[in-house]
Amino acid sequence: MEAPVMYAPPAPAAVQAAGLAWAESVGAGADAAQSVWGAARSEAQEALAVLPVPHRRLERWKYTPVQSVFTGAKADVAPGANAEVEAVPGLDAYRLVWRDGAFDAAASNPPVVEGCVCVPVSRWSGEQVDAFGAPVHRTDWMAALNPVCAGDGAMVVLADGLKLDRPLLLHHIATSAGSSTFLRHTVKLGAGAAVNVVVWTTAEGDAAGFHQVVTTAEVGPGAQLVVDKAVDGNAHLHVHALEAVDVHAEGRATLTTAVLQGGWVRCEPHVRLLGAGAHATLNGISLPGANERHDAYTTIDHVVADCTSSETYRSAVHGGGVNTFNGKVFVRLDAQKTDAYQHNANLLIGSGGTVNAKPELEIYADDVKCSHGCTVGALDEQAVFYFRSRGIARTEAEAMLVQAFLAEACGEVGAEEFRTEVERRFAEKPVA
Amino acid sequence: MLHIDSLHASVGDTPILKGLTLHVAPGEVHAIMGPNGSGKSTLAAVLAGREGYEVTSGSVTFEGDDLLERDATERARAGVFLAFQYPVEIPGVSNMNFMKAALNGKREHIGLPPVGATEFLKLVQEKSALVGLDGKLRNRSVNEGFSGGEKKRNEIFQMALLEPHLAILDETDSGLDIDALRIVAEGVNAMRSPERSFLVITHYQRLLDYIVPDIVHVLMDGRIVRTGGKELALELEERGYDWIREAEQV
């Protein structure tokens, strides 16, 4: 049974035209490296011409407006100042670094390990790269941009049984004030292999435009993939981070997303469970403040029987901020004995914030256990008072409670340093 | 009343009962004891007709008829009652409606019309008193929010109402404190009669102080390996199961 097809009404003519024009402007300048993405690229090109551009009546884009993307900064401009940026202090990791889409060899430190291939695609001379994960580029216009426009990305292949000894940091730094960059990472884990990938996006100073990073991954039988993702954007850079992951029998995929800051951030993990015993954990936390919109659109597709999944997404929204959670769990006809759990908890702090939550279940098998829950509320006043009665100021009390609230969704990160850094950034974020 | 001859039964591909033979006459109380994994619960499930268990050979006759040929509902209506070790909750279905449906099922089987409202109420009050089941619990949904002791008492209440010929008590004492145990045992004892037999499945001897058996069997590795009087239970209490294991070279 195929995954149910999403109904896609066409976009208003003006929107479609604006989208296509913008795509033209950012598609130009894509270099030879992208031919490496073979079939995915040609499929995506067809899709771009045919699919509707995201618009309000498209369910998956209902809460994420795209006008600012299409009217934002366009083609590549000279990169900005060459700042030294340390993504995760204290993290001893292999690293591949890109600045404004260009690979920075000097700042990188790829692993040299038997059985491990880890290179930027721009330096890959082998055959075409497979696309893994759900073929989102065939059904979503925005996702289709990636194989067409992506100039570079990481190619990571781990042989059977290889557990990489250190985390791998894929760091993109946006500096230019008028850039649109597209990265495409590919990760393939052989049977029993394991790796902790940290995907970190940083926007420096005046960086503006659109940045899209797509990570496609295949988790072989019994393999383990942990992805810790953070978006450290700014007011003007639109960030679209998408993962398409396939998990085979007894494999495990754990994806944690932390949105530290950003005016327009959309995170989209898509996971397919393809073999008995496969498991996926999707966690996410965000703290949007005034003029920030953080949206999470997750998809977990239980294709076969005996798979499990667990999702915990939490947000604390301050005045003027927007958080959206649209979680979709598909359980296909033969996916008996599925156990899927999904929970979304949101805090609204101060007035003017907005929470949109749409936890969806689409279930075609019957011997399953699926539950989801969603709550929206404010901080518990009793708890706040308890802090204050111990001499802690209200604002500090609230901050500590928010920290504790968010930390509960951060339990399965690969690297402790990642979690520490995320917590530090949240603690320091001005929210008033 | 009950004749089990050389019964072999499996769960999936795993054989659990390996040639179990047991004869129970009317009015007798038999205790079945044995270490974990010996097949005690499997025996209860097979007798009650639960799905997922396959009888590979042997026979079971109940009151002269082949029991294995009947499905679970028919066995129940014929007079077999299983008091579950972990009684399940059924939200939204009141204890009263549940019992009425069960009682009417049995009455239909023996050619009686459905029970009238006043008659039913009288029966219920009578049997609740027997078991000490609180009136409030009667009106709740089946086992919903009941404590362990209350669930077990509910099982015995149902048994009192349905008046079975063969009652199988599957580890009825598990999870009960001394007081609850005594109340449950009193209910069972009140039900003893020359026309009714009991199979009391238990891991510990303690219950048998209250429900005194006529015959004690030891079930080990899917077979009855020893049979004796109530002193056998006390001996097991003192010495455990190892001595039997060695003796039988199981």
């Binding site: 006809l333 929470v355 949109n356 689409e362 279930i363 989801h372 509320g377 | 799905e51 069960a102």
Partner: protein, 482 residues
């Protein structure tokens, strides 16, 4: 996975003929099929409507022409050909009836078959019945008794003539003409329905009810109901439907508007048992209904529904909690079997302060059906201290049916508390075996468990309705009548 006897049980269910499938042979006065301004003028003339009503209809028709039929990903159905439907069919008989003796005997027989013999109703429960058949109301009882209290309960067409001020004030105030495609269609061609007005401070002493029937082939049913509860009043309204067996699909696009003024309460209960189509899904009713209520200060509206029929169901009874301290509730059991499709749910819109809403939805899917819950809880920035609790559960009876949940939660006020929970499961083996071991046969066991599952909703129905509803639940899932 399927437990033993599953297939046999299901065969019984699909094999059961629709109990209410029959037609009354009464010469009908039909307007030729097709929809145009002329059709509307013809309908309005036949009903002897005042000018303002015709203008209102025409404006709605023009709006409809400019609208597009909606598409939903989880409903697949053959689009009705709007030009092939006859929009008016009135059984030939006298215009006003003072007593039952004047009712056409064929009609009386129909009413008897439906089990709503007015005699019985009068004697037992004192329910006032406003019987609607094929778009014209035929019998009304208890009008005098209600009139003493100042309660108006009459067919919509009568209300348009006798109480134009009330109708003009409230018609379209909760469901505007342009709200959606089917509401616009209904506004243009509605032929009848119920109108109910409860004066200030009056508690309606009996349940008000209405029965529908769709009789003629090719006749869409466009009922329009308006219930107004003035300040401090109370009314409980029952809606129950049956329909005859037919080969071509029949469209039902009704609009129900409820207005609860300050401190008023409206309880609206529906048991819907329309022809669901045959085992292949052919020929059943399309039920596309817009139902909405608006609550003023301290008012309360609760929707309770048991949906077991129709080939395709699309309805979202909703509450607009405009007034401070207002309360909205939605209780629903939706059963789908064979090839039925349901996309149903509710919208709770919190606007005033201290509002609260409760949503309890229990879906049961069997056969190859698809059962979707689609709900919206929207908390506006002005809605201080809003509270919502939603529980949406799905019970899957077969491995070939689908159960889907699409809740939309949109919160823009930080003092709100919203909680939503959903679970999907099948009947547990343990529960089933427990019943079997107590001598309850499988069919009855399933009936008990399913009724228990739906209990929270069924308890919300008025007594007489609850009995019918439980029976209906059993019939629609088991095949044998208890």
């Amino acid at each position: 996975m399927a437990y033993s006897g599953d297939d046999a049980l299901l065969e019984e269910v699909t094999g059961t003929p629709y109990a209410y499938g029959f037609t009354t042979d009464i010469a009908s006065d039909k307007v030729p099929p097709g929809l145009s301004e002329d059709t509307i003028r013809a309908i309005s003339a036949k009903k002897e409507e005042p000018e303002w009503m015709l203008e209102w209809r025409l404006a709605a028709y023009r709006a409809w022409c400019a609208m597009e039929e909606p598409e939903w990903p989880h409903l697949a159905y053959a689009r009705p050909d709007y030009q092939a439907i006859s929009y008016y069919a009135a059984p030939k008989q006298k215009k006003t009836l003072n007593s039952l003796d004047e009712v056409d005997p064929e009609l009386r027989k129909t009413m008897d078959k439906l089990g709503i013999s007015l005699e019985e109703q009068k004697r037992l429960s004192g329910v006032a019945v406003d019987f609607v058949m094929d778009s014209v109301s035929v019998a009304t009882s208890f009008k005098e008794k209600l009139a003493e209290l100042g309660i108006i309960f009459c067919p919509m067409s009568e209300a348009v003539r006798e109480h134009p001020d009330l109708v003009r004030k409230y018609l379209g105030s909760v469901v505007p003409v342009r709200d959606n495609f089917f509401a616009a269609l209904n506004s243009a061609v509605f032929t009848d329905g119920s109108f109910c007005y409860i004066p200030s401070g009056v508690r309606c002493p009996m349940e008000l009810s209405t029965y529908f029937r769709i009789n003629e082939a090719g006749t869409g049913q466009f009922e329009r109901t308006l219930v107004i509860a003035d300040a401090g009043s109370y009314v409980s309204y029952l809606e129950g439907c049956t329909a005859p067996q037919r080969d071509e699909n029949q469209l039902h696009a009704a609009v129900v508007e409820l207005i609860a003024l300050d401190d008023a309460e409206i309880k609206y209960s529906t048991v819907q048992n329309w022809y669901p189509g045959d085992a292949e899904g052919k020929g059943g009713i399309f039920n596309f209904v817009t139902k909405r209520g608006i609550c003023h200060d301290r008012a309360k509206i609760s929707w309770t529904q048991v949906e077991t029929g129709s080939a395709v169901t699309w309805k979202y009874p909703s509450c607009i909690l405009k007034g401070d301290d207002s309360v909205g509730a939605f209780y629903s059991v939706a059963v789908t079997n064979n090839a039925q499709q349901a996309d149903t749910g509710t919208k709770m819109v919190h606007i005033g302060r201290n509002t609260s809403s409760t949503i309890i939805s229990k879906g049961i899917s069997s056969g190859r059906s698809q059962n979707s819950y689609r709900g919206l809880v929207s908390i506006h920035p002005s809605a201080d201290n809003a509270r919502n609790f939603s529980q949406c559960d799905s019970l899957l009876m077969t491995s070939t049916s689908g159960a889907h949940t699409f809740p939309y939660v949109e919160v823009r006020n930080p003092t709100a508390r919203v909680e939503h929970e959903a679970t999907t499961s099948k009947i547990a083996e343990d529960q089933l075996f427990y019943c079997l071991q107590r001598g309850i046969d499988e069919e009855k066991a399933i009936s008990l468990i399913v009724n228990g599952y739906a209990n929270e909703v069924l308890n919300q129905l008025p007594m007489e309705f609850a009995v019918e509803a439980r029976k209906l639940l059993a019939i629609s899932l088991e095949g044998s009548v208890g």
